[in-house]
Amino acid sequence: MMDGMSSSPAPHPVGMAKIPVSFRLNGAPTTIELAPWTTLLDALRNHMGLTGTKKGCDHGQCGACTVLVDGQRINACLTLAVMKEGADIRTVEGLAEHGHLHPVQDAFIEYDAFQCGYCTPGQICSAVGLIAEGHAHSAEEIREAMSGNICRCGAYPNIVEAVKHVIDAKAARRLEAAK
């Protein structure tokens, strides 16, 4: 393989047996046997049929693979699945509840925060994580905190509007409740 042109060779695998790993996946207890070298991203996409989470680079450089692990947004391509024993993993497939879209999902449609849709699951999981973090309020802060998720279709202004809409609505509800 040409130097630096492909993912660096994995450690010699021969004899590497699959081992069981258990976690909660989109709310459901799940156990699966995986080789230790399988990333969480490939586990979801290739071994568990959950292709909603996307692979854009496999290098932690694009954010397409963003999922929520114990409520935190992470790059699934930089995580080995067997490391997630006991974790609570949520993917884009697990955000809607009782057939209702998550407010971020609905806002993404309303504000047209995507075109091709390939970065979208990662953007949405990232936004859900960001909102939970509670640091970003202004458009400026959202832009900064969403910059780990590349959108080559250039939907950024609409992504910011969608996320801001959800943050503002949440703040308004909190204000209402306080009254």
């Binding site: 393989m1 040409m2 630096g4 042109m5 492909s6 660096s8 060779p9 994995a10 695998p13 021969v14 080789a35 070298w37 399988t38 490939d42 290739n46 049929g49 959950l50 292709t51 996307k54 692979k55 854009g56 680079c57 496999d58 290098h59 450089q61 694009c62 397409a64 884009v92 497939e93 955000l95 809607a96 879209l101 999902q105 993404f108 449609i109 309303e110 047209d112 995507f114 075109q115 091709c116 849709g117 390939y118 979208t120 699951p121 832009r143 900064e144 969403m146 910059s147 780990g148 998720n149 590349i150 959108c151 080559r152 279709c153 250039g154 939907a155 950024y156 202004p157 609409n158 992504i159």
Partner: protein, 747 residues
């Protein structure tokens, strides 16, 4: 025919939005198949030379590896070059993966390792040992431009430069004001977020279903049948979604060839996905060295335009794009002269990338126009208005179907606040930052391509509209749904659009901004025929309240056909459909550009782009803080998705102006920054407010539905507007995009 437009022309949510926000939309690498095999591509390490030895033993020894393909054991495929020439191939000899030991570009695929799972295939691929007899690659266009040539065979669909008008050189020599400069834009890679991928499902009995990342399934189908000698009924291509194309998915890429090769040989389902690194091993926006010479009167009126370009191509194909012709089209000028030549490099063939040619040519022309504005002291907008040509394409002497560019200038300038601009460079500041305001013009062809579509009203009163075309994120599903719903008076929820399947009525690839006009017109025509048919059925019903009516005096609404003047008389579509023998009403129609009209008219979209930049001079950092893009593109079908297309174009234009650059190391002939960490595309924090204005532009000739298309116009002109704004802020002309810190600081 009275057809009310309830949806067309409004802002509508994407009909495929739900699928895309829930992870339900399936892209090429995401189709499941029983006993699927995974292929990993081994990329060659040199840019030019010959493979002397390829050792696959270690890879084959890894448990789980099924087979390793190289040029030595590749199953036979078609012999003739013509079998490999896809619908949009330029003249030449198309690249054939694993064809021989010869290496023609860095990263050329030299082996495919097929294994039970992705990890095993990837690991085993790292064990393939290749020895080469390497030659020194030539990848430096500056060194090769002396050997440039006029491509002997022209690429279909790309107009060669127009003949000279008047006496450009004489007029230039005599001009009181002159601008002559060289302009460049770095090589760019499309980098759609979805890497190129193909899943081939082995259906048994020599038949396959191919899920390919492609901007048009008919191109994939044609390529596979040609190369592998299969009949059309053995190859079905289904690609309902595509994770971004921007031109990289116009031509079938090598992972398609490799996946089909392995699938047919092993009689198994096979998936091959390229790595992000490998996304830098095929088409790219070509490096182009342009010289622009403008001669003008002191009041800014142009007396001469000379535009010369030398562009890179590969050793195996003569890639061509329309780079210089725009300079003969946009402004009134009696003396013009153009040249466009190619020089061969040891790289892969360049590829169309969003607004191919226009991004480069308009950057040069519009940057030079800004220099002319400085030289004459005429305001940049005023300069363009002084050279405005209202209704003619001087290159072809044909009439324009419409041109509302003047309104783009005025409305864009108004919204931007252009009148408050102090023309002097370095005159505007915001705190410690310099502020610059710049503008430029954009233009792109409005085209139609022959496209067929089918409309079917089913017994439940629902409508399906279908064509083999694609939705690469542009909103095709949604606009076709809007058109269908309006044509038959249905709610959008009652209409389904189907795309991306080679078994559907024929459509060419999605590209060149022609899909909305072409597929839209075809769907509209099919729906009109369905209207007529279902109306006839409704009229023939026993005791029909429509018995004496004609189509002109009824309205389709809420699932019924209603007498326009007497709404109490109506028939439901469901009742009418029931009375048909087939239990459905169906029509297929083909839309094509009018050849008679094409003899007299041509059609273009236009834009005026206004940009504000802020420059931190100490750090050399440039930020685009505000953009107004005013676009004239005929009828806008969906204000929401249309705006997004322009936003996307502007964002990519910002990338081109400030960030994007594929860096070749000429010693080894390789793009070195082959990843998204080092090839910089704009991220969210790079993008400020972008305002999009669609100016009114009625046009009944560009296409029967008045649509011109929006895929490219958003990017064209954006790069020049930014460069011009940077000059206004700093007083520094950088004529070599992207404008990076080093260039600004070094100036």
């Amino acid at each position: 025919m009275s057809m009310t437009q309830k949806y067309v022309g409004t802002a509508q949510r994407r009909v495929d939005g739900h699928a895309k926000v829930t992870g339900g939309a399936r892209y090429a690498a995401e189709f499941a198949a029983a006993d699927l095999l995974h292929g990993a591509v081994v990329s060659g390490a040199i840019a030019r030379g010959t493979i002397t030895k390829i050792d696959t033993a270690a890879a084959e020894a890894v448990p789980g590896v099924v087979k390793v393909y190289t040029h030595e054991n590749r199953p036979r495929t078609a012999w003739l070059d013509s079998s490999y020439r896809d619908d949009v191939a330029p003249p030449g000899h198309p690249f054939r993966a694993l064809h021989s030991a010869k290496i023609m570009f860095s990263g050329q695929p030299v082996a495919l390792v097929v294994a039970d799972d992705f990890e095993t295939a990837t690991y085993a691929a790292s064990l393939v040992e290749v020895s080469y007899d390497a030659e020194v690659p030539k990848t430096d266009l500056d060194a090769q431009k002396g050997q440039s040539y006029d491509p002997p065979k022209k690429r279909s669909g790309v107009e060669p430069p127009p003949k000279p008008r008047g006496h450009a050189e004489k007029a230039y020599a005599a001009a009181p004001v002159k601008v002559q400069q060289e302009y460049r834009v770095a090589v760019e890679h499309h980098n759609p977020m979805e890497p190129h991928a193909t899943t081939v499902v082995w259906d048994g009995d020599g038949a396959i279903t191919v899920h390919d990342k492609i901007q048009g399934v008919t191109n994939t189908q044609g390529y596979v049948t040609g190369v592998f000698g299969l009949s059309k009924d053995k190859v079905r291509c289904i690609s309902p979604f595509m994770g971004g194309g921007f031109g990289s998915g116009l031509r079938p890429q090598y992972q398609l060839f490799l996946a089909v090769l392995a699938s047919l040989d092993l009689e198994r389902s096979v998936r091959v996905v390229l790595t992000r690194d490998q996304m830098f091993t095929f088409g790219h926006r070509p490096l182009t060295i342009q010289t622009l010479s403008l001669g003008a009167e002191p009041d800014g009126r142009l007396t001469s335009i000379i535009h010369d370009a030398v562009q890179e191509t590969s050793h195996f194909e003569d890639y061509q794009e329309n780079t210089v012709n725009w300079s003969g089209l946009l402004y009134k000028c009696d003396n013009t002269k153009f040249s466009y030549e190619l020089a061969k490099l040891d790289t892969y063939t360049p590829a169309d990338m969003r607004a191919p040619g226009a991004v480069l040519g308009l950057y040069a022309l519009e940057a030079a126009m800004d220099e002319l504005a400085s030289a004459t002291g005429v305001d940049p907008v005023e300069l363009r208005l002084r050279n405005y040509i209202a209704d003619t394409d001087q290159n072809t002497d044909k009439k324009l179907t419409s041109k509302a560019l003047r309104e783009c200038y005025t409305q864009g300038a108004e919204r931007f606040g252009w009148s408050k601009r102090d023309a002097r460079p370095r005159s505007m500041t915001d705190g410690r930052e310099l502020v610059g305001w710049g503008m430029a013009t954009g233009v792109w062809e409005a085209m139609m391509q022959k496209t067929s579509a089918r409309a079917t009203l089913t017994g439940d009163g629902r409508l399906e509209v279908a064509t083999a075309s694609a939705d690469i994120g542009t909103g095709t599903y949604t606009i076709l749904t809007q058109l269908g719903a309006d044509a038959l008076g249905l709610r959008m929820e009652d209409v389904t659009a189907r795309l991306g399947d080679s078994s559907l009525p024929y459509s060419p690839i999605e590209g060149g901004s022609w899909t909305a006009a072409s597929a839209g017109t075809a769907v509209q025509m099919a729906c009109e025929t369905v209207r007529e048919k279902v109306f006839k059925l409704a009229r023939q019903l026993d005791g029909s309240p429509l018995a004496n009516q004609d189509l002109d005096h009824v309205t389709f609404r809420d699932g019924r056909i209603v007498v326009t003047n007497d709404p109490s008389r109506s028939v439901s579509l469901i009742d009418a459909i029931k009375s048909s023998n087939e239990g459905k009403v169906e029509a297929e129609e083909t839309a094509a550009p009018s050849t008679i009209q094409a003899r007299r008219f041509v059609s273009y979209t236009h834009s005026a782009v206004f940009v504000e930049v802020k420059v931190d001079e100490e750090l050399g950092v440039v930020r685009v803080t505000r953009v107004v893009s005013a676009v004239a593109a005929g009828k806008i079908l969906n204000l929401k998705t249309a705006r997004s297309q322009i936003l996307g174009g502007v964002v990519m234009g910002i990338g081109s102006a400030l960030h994007e650059e594929s860096m070749l190391d000429h010693n080894i002939g390789r793009f070195m920054n082959h990843n998204l960490g080092e090839y910089h595309v704009p991220v969210n924090a790079d993008i400020g407010p972008i305002e999009v204005i669609f100016v009114d532009e009625p046009d009944d000739k560009a296409s029967p539905i008045g649509v011109k298309g929006l895929g490219e116009i958003g990017i064209v002109g954006t790069g020049a507007a930014i460069a011009n704004a940077v000059y206004h802020a700093t007083g520094v002309r950088v004529r070599d995009l992207p404008i990076t810190i080093d260039k600004l600081q070094g100036a």
